[in-house]
């Protein structure tokens, strides 16, 4: 079975500063990796995904993530955040069709 650990439960950050959200996963086989964002009282929106190929994945809203197989990590980054990036971020792993999510990281962007 696969599992996901998000290493930071809360990340406060100032507007226009960079942010990194850390995600580690455990699996004995190759998996697919995802980052989703959840705004208050909404469902999850896909930011980006890693299926295979280049380890640097670019997503929507200026986010990117890097897959590191040796460290079993898939950290999410954004070079300059906006107030509108305030949300909950979930890392997820999938072996086939079922998504397994981490507990989430709350990002709060302050002016």
């Amino acid at each position: 079975a696969q599992s996901v650990t998000q290493l930071d439960s809360q990340v406060p950050v100032f507007e226009e500063a960079p942010v990194e959200l850390r995600c580690n996963y455990s699996s004995s086989v190759s998996v697919y990796l995802f980052w989703y964002v959840q705004y208050p009282n909404q469902g999850l929106q896909l930011l980006l995904k890693y299926l295979s190929g280049s380890t640097l994945v670019k997503g929507i809203n200026g986010f990117e993530a890097e897959f590191n197989k040796s460290q079993t990590s898939f950290h999410l980054r954004k070079p300059s955040v906006h107030i509108s990036d305030t949300a909950e971020y979930f890392c997820a792993v999938s072996l086939d069709y079922k998504l397994s999510f981490g507990a989430g990281t709350t990002v709060t962007v302050r002016a």
């Binding site: 697919y32 989703y36 909404q42 469902g43 999850l44 896909l46 069709y97 079922k98 989430g104």
Partner: protein, 115 residues
């Protein structure tokens, strides 16, 4: 509509009552999923449909939970004899294909509160 639609958005029920939550997936999407999201947690898988066939119900927490998708489109998640621990947000997601790695599109969820 263009996205996954869930109703009702909010549901309050007394302990012991039965509830039914509806999911209308994106038109043409083969796969449909239900997840349960407890407060402050990530979503947890409940069940998976491919068209009308329920292929995986390993995440359903008890036999009080039942899901169906009789015509391969709209799905209903039913919870019988609700308990306080059933309070959560129930998310529905759909995807176009069956292949692994296919991204899932989520609805806004139904927030269920059991008094």
């Amino acid at each position: 509509g263009a996205g996954v639609s869930q109703s009702p958005r909010y549901k309050v029920a007394k302990r012991g009552q039965d509830v039914a939550l509806r999911c209308d997936p994106i038109s043409g999407h083969v796969s449909l999923f239900w997840y349960q999201q407890a407060l402050g947690q990530g979503p947890e898988f409940l069940t998976y449909f491919q068209n009308e066939a329920q292929l995986d119900k390993s995440g359903l927490p008890s036999d009080r939970f039942f899901a169906e998708r009789p015509e391969g489109s709209v799905s209903t998640l039913k919870i019988q004899r609700t308990q306080q621990e059933d309070s959560a947000v129930y998310l529905c997601a759909s995807s176009q294909l069956v292949e692994g790695g296919e991204p899932q599109h989520f609805g806004d969820g139904t927030r269920l509160s059991i008094l």
